[in-house]
């Protein structure tokens, strides 16, 4: 057997897996989205029904806000934790990465314990402050599980930054803020984009937390679930799934394009 034939044969399992478990269901999904009463007009229906467009816009905005907040919190914390060694550092790190071990439902429950009708804030303020079932509750829950993902990426990238670069900038008269702007952020940019993309995609598709908290608000995964289980509207659930996937993919492609150019700039 020629070695090139052998190499091609090695691709066979990947091909089988991709076809059976990715391509086929995806094709089914696309087909079933057009199988409803409206046919392919279902996509136009989505774009003209306020319930769906609002859910889509809300989900995207929420995910973008979560991504921005998680990046801001984790970058500062990650830089500090990567640069400093002190007692209790390991403890802080394990607390910050703990949410990785929790399913979304548990995180939703934690938010209810904090901001629900019987939550801590409600008890302290005689039931006046209840935020668990609002956008704020979702936002907090999503941030909670986005932080560890971004934090670990930022810390790994920080350790790879050449400390001499910062010293060089300082010796040329740069202040701390200028060092952050001119050296640290450009150096971390590719990792920040990658971590941000993960945080965004996770927030777009998060279901467990949404299921626990989103009783009054519509986020897209919840709408899909309702269409599927309550209305048995398979076509609409499929079409919404495709829209959710497409929007997420579009933004990730945009982010990757940006990260590609900054990675080239970063050497």
């Amino acid at each position: 057997m020629r070695s090139s034939t052998f190499v091609r044969l090695c691709l066979l399992p990947l091909f089988v897996f991709t076809s059976a478990f990715l391509a086929l269901p995806l094709a089914r999904l696309i087909l079933s989205s057009g199988s409803g009463e409206a046919g392919w007009g279902i996509y136009q229906q989505i774009l003209t029904t306020p319930r769906y467009t609002t859910a889509l816009v809300q989900t995207v905005l929420l995910s973008l806000a979560v991504t921005a907040a998680a990046l801001a919190i984790s970058t500062t914390a990650g830089l500090f934790l990567a640069r400093n060694r002190f007692r209790g550092r390991g403890f802080i790190l394990s607390v910050l990465t703990l949410p990785l071990a929790f399913p979304g439902v548990v995180i939703g429950f934690l938010i209810i314990l904090l901001g629900g009708r019987q939550g801590l804030f409600a008890q302290l303020t005689d039931g006046k402050v209840v935020f668990a079932y609002s956008m704020l509750g979702l936002f907090l829950g999503y941030i909670y599980f986005s932080i560890p993902r971004v934090l670990l990426t930022v810390m790994a990238a920080t350790e790879k930054l050449d400390p001499n670069l910062e010293e060089a900038a300082r010796s040329l008269g740069a202040s701390s803020a200028q060092v952050v702007r001119d050296v640290i952020l450009p150096g971390l940019a590719p990792s920040l984009v990658a971590a941000g993309a993960i945080a965004f995609a996770t927030a777009m598709g998060a279901f467990g937390t949404a299921f626990t908290l989103a009783t009054n608000i519509d986020v897209l995964p919840m709408v899909i679930y309702t269409e599927f289980t309550l209305s048995a509207n398979i076509a609409m659930a499929s079409a919404l799934s495709i829209i959710l996937g497409f929007v997420t993919w579009l933004l990730l492609v945009f982010a990757r394009g940006f990260s590609g150019s900054s990675a080239a700039a970063g050497g």
Binding site: E167, A168, A169, R170, G173, G187, G266, G267
Partner: protein
């Protein structure tokens, strides 16, 4: 700008003494090299001068009459060239060179003019708009030097500027660097572990060992009159000749050797280039190894001192391994190092 260090020392929080109290002076425009093996404190000393490391209390660093001990690095106005060059990868060559000038908030026209001037000096004209990643090692070194020099620093500090280059390139770039530093006419301090580099570039070499400056002087003086056995060994690889000194003679295993002067309390050292193979030499030795190096043979000799004594033999042929040869050493080439009360 003169650089004066007064009892500068550094102890790390874990108790490691990196630098014992050191006094040091560099005259304006002088190029001084800190030479020593790794871990001798030379980089610590350089970083203290730069302001990247805080010395122990009581230390004083002065640039001219200006006491900069308490100033952070960004306000010391020093130029720094790092071993890795540490060029900003997100900026072009021009962006790198202009960075320090931008930090000084100079008007754009002046920045352009200063950049052009330094670019010309460092012969970087064809590369100004290139990315850093598109440069060779030698070009990067020139950009690093240009970036450090553009803001007109008071002192230029270089940390092993040549060790990131491959050996073939290093010799040419060494001479280029020496030429550029002379052209700048700036007070410069540079750290190296390579004695050839130190001697080729510096006006004055400070040899360091175990956190202290052992000897400071022009390269010729260090080479010809080392004051400690460490300097003799590190600069020019002199070998200790063991034996009993009696008046002006040294009795070695291989025979008697005449000394240039009374060698009481002295240890005697010799370098490979001063050990000659002659038919009627005073010393007897056996050839243990022979390596042809182009310009000469490097012979390893046993029977004179406890270890191997090397001889650079410039003949057309070398004596075979295992043969007995006779050795002579010109008394004036012997290095006598006084051991009475001296540091090891």
């Amino acid at each position: 700008m003169t650089l004066t260090l007064t009892s500068v020392s550094k102890t790390y929080p874990d108790g490691t003494v990196a630098l014992k109290p050191t006094d040091f002076h560099v005259a304006p425009g002088e190029i001084v090299s800190l030479l020593g093996p790794s871990g001798c404190g030379k980089t610590t000393l350089l970083r203290i001068v730069a302001g990247l490391e805080t010395p122990n209390p009581g230390s004083q660093v002065k640039f001219g009459d200006d006491d900069v001990t308490e100033l952070p690095v960004e306000r010391r106005k020093v130029g720094m060239v790092f071993q890795s060059y540490a060029l900003f990868p997100n900026m072009s060559v021009r962006g790198n060179i202009a960075y320090g000038l931008k930090m000084q908030k100079l008007p754009a026209a002046e920045i352009d003019q200063r950049v052009a001037e330094v670019v010309r000096l460092c012969k970087l004209e064809p590369y100004v708009d290139r990315r850093i990643t598109a440069l060779s090692g030698g070009q990067r070194q020139r950009v690093a030097l240009a970036r450090a020099f553009a803001p007109r620093p008071r002192i230029l500090l270089l940390d092993e500027p040549l060790s990131a280059l491959d050996a073939a390139l290093r010799d040419t770039l060494r001479d280029e660097l020496a030429g550029l530093l002379r052209k700048f006419g700036i007070t410069a301090l540079f750290v190296t572990h390579d004695q050839d580099e130190a001697m080729a570039i510096a006006d004055k070499v400070a040899v360091m060992s175990h956190g202290t400056v052992v000897q400071v002087g022009p390269p010729e003086e260090l080479y010809r009159n080392p004051r400690t056995r460490f300097v003799a060994g590190f600069v020019g690889h002199a070998v200790h000749l063991e034996g009993q000194v009696a008046g002006t003679t040294l009795r070695t295993q291989g025979g008697m050797l005449t000394l240039p002067r009374d060698g009481e309390n002295c240890e005697v050292f010799v370098r490979a280039e001063d050990v000659a193979i002659t038919p009627n030499g005073a010393l007897k030795a056996r050839v243990e190894s022979s390596v042809f190096l182009g310009t000469h043979y490097r012979l390893g000799l046993s029977g004179i001192t406890a270890g191997i004594l090397y001889s650079n033999h410039a003949g057309l042929a070398a004596p075979a391994r295992g043969t007995d040869v006779r050795i002579s050493i010109d008394p004036s080439k012997l290095l006598l190092i006084d051991q009475s009360g001296a540091t090891p």
